[in-house]
Amino acid sequence: MIEVEGVERRYDGVAVLSEVTLSLPKGGLTAIIGPNGAGKSTLLSVMGRLQKPDAGRVTLEGMHLAQAPGRAVAKKLAMLRQDNHTAARLTVRDLVAFGRYPHCRGNPGPEDQAQIDRALAILGLEPLADRFLDQLSGGQRQRAHIAMVLAQDTGCILLDEPLNNLDISHAVRIITLVREAAQALGKTVVVVLHDINMAAAHCDRIVVMKGGRILRHGTPAELMQADFLSAVYETPISVHELAGRLVAVY
């Protein structure tokens, strides 16, 4: 259960987040969508305690994120930023192993090893496990970082545009994987997505943001409405039912 209460965030006096209040129950996949500059990434950064809000607070299972000790939070919440320009020359396996750092402090036991192997297997990284990150393509690197977050094995996972740089097969595989983690393992997963149809097809809830505020929050069926989406994106959008799914056409 993660709660955002009256969060405000300003850059140089310009409000990027205004009075954002959001309560997400434990378990389930939530997508944050909205046009560029809506404040999606900033909200995710505040929820992931990478940025301190100027007002308001974020709590995770009653733990006040801005005040809780870093390691305690790292066992419950994992976050992946959009741009992972890691300069370090680490192997894929080393990077994924660092996901266990909050739990094992650098001395992985059998349980940690199992988590690392599992994360590598899920993302199909076994053939690349001993490659350095700077020898990988953008999509492969993205998968390595997602594997690290999975290995961290936290109840709450925040992913900022995890499908960037990925081809269709990997994008579908990862969003399906994330949905399974949310449903089968009861993890609370929040993803920022650009693709409305991906959000509608796979997520339990959608949060629509614009201009630093949350406009609406509901199920895909409630939000996939042509008028509403057209207004949000200031672009004519129509919604059709196709193969049992609601699809936005623009």
């Binding site: 990478l50 870093g70 790292a74 992972n84 300069a87 020359r89 660092f98 001993d130 490659r131 350095f132």
Partner: protein
């Protein structure tokens, strides 16, 4: 699954070759250490020492000069390579080392001021002042770095070199006005020929600092992944960075105060090791330290042999080896410097 696009050939994979690096570095260090003990103007050999049975001229030379010199070389090499490694990981730039970010020059300024204002200060006090100045210099560098919008990896060492130049100029100016230029030049040029028993022991602090770095190896590696990743993994980024900078300042100061400035080492050794086995400090730190020790000993031995019975200062040999290696690295690493 098939991976059609891999930007680099698979020969770069850290395979068995990377695992051989530690024993290789260890063997090299031991060999250089032995050579350093028995190479020099007066003849000292294991058989001679054995024949003297504990007292005699060869034993005397061995204990008061050769052994201290070899230990000093190993410790200084370890310290400088380690300082370069920690700095490169924390600044997240391949081309920095204490002498390219202002640490060394600031420490020198500190030592000059001590010689002028408190000439009686014992060596540990002198080192503390040098470390304090070195830390301030590094901090100034980081402040300038934050203020200058730079997206090129080569801008970072350029800024550092400019800053070093300015601080070095201040030092030279003060030394010039106070008639200290000659003595400034004398002690700041790295030289191990003056190392005798009783004049290098402060360098043992390097061993302690190496241990501390090893204990924090994982945290330093995580901090090197960047602030956001470090926070995500529950590592106190700011604290680890501060600790790392203090380590760098102390390591640099210990070496400068006892043997002077040895350029390039902190740049070359961590870069070569990083190319061969990556940046996971838990694995690379011992290899970096050993390679640093071996390289300094090798350069010193060369300096002792080339112009026998005289000696070339190590700064000269190291400068030649180091600048050649640096040029090679520049061309080699251009693809992934950032």
């Amino acid at each position: 699954m098939p991976e059609p696009h891999s930007p680099r050939p698979s020969s770069q994979q850290p395979g068995p070759a990377a695992r051989l690096l530690f024993p290789l570095a260890l063997g090299l260090t031991l060999a250089m250490g032995l050579a350093s003990l028995f190479v020099g103007v007066s003849s000292v050999s294991p058989t001679l020492l054995w024949a003297e049975g504990g007292t005699g001229p060869a034993t005397e030379v061995f204990l008061t000069s050769r052994l201290p010199r070899t230990l000093a070389l190993a410790l200084a090499g370890t310290g400088l390579a380690l300082a370069g490694l920690v700095l490169q990981v924390l600044v997240r730039n391949r081309f920095v080392e204490p002498s390219t970010v202002g640490t060394t020059e600031s420490a020198s300024l500190g030592i000059l001021l001590v010689m002028l204002l408190a000439p009686g200060l014992p060596v540990p006090g002198r080192m503390a002042v040098a470390a304090g100045f070195g830390l301030a210099g590094t901090g100034l560098f980081l402040l300038v770095l934050r203020a200058v919008p730079q997206r090129s990896a080569l801008m970072v060492p350029l800024i550092g070199l400019l800053l070093s130049g300015v601080i070095g100029a201040v030092t030279t100016f003060i030394a010039y006005r106070t008639d200290m230029l000659q003595s400034l030049g004398a002690w700041s040029t790295g030289d191990f020929s003056v190392v005798l028993q009783g004049r290098y022991e402060l360098l043992w602090i390097v061993a302690g600092l190496t241990l501390v770095s090893a204990l924090f190896a994982d945290q330093i590696t995580v901090a090197g992944l960047g602030r956001d990743m470090a926070i995500g993994l529950g590592v106190n980024h700011r604290a680890v960075r501060a600790l790392g900078l203090v380590l760098v300042a102390l390591l640099s100061a210990a070496v400068i105060v006892t043997v002077g400035i040895v350029p390039f080492l902190g740049l070359v050794v961590p870069n070569v090791v990083s190319l061969l086995m990556g940046d996971n400090l838990r694995r690379t730190l011992p290899v970096v330290c050993l390679t640093g020790a071996a390289l300094v000993m090798a350069c010193d031995i060369v300096g002792r042999l080339v112009v026998r019975p005289y000696e070339m200062p190590i700064g000269l040999t190291m400068g030649i080896v180091g600048s050649a290696a640096f040029l090679w690295l520049l061309t080699r690493r251009r693809g992934h410097v950032a």
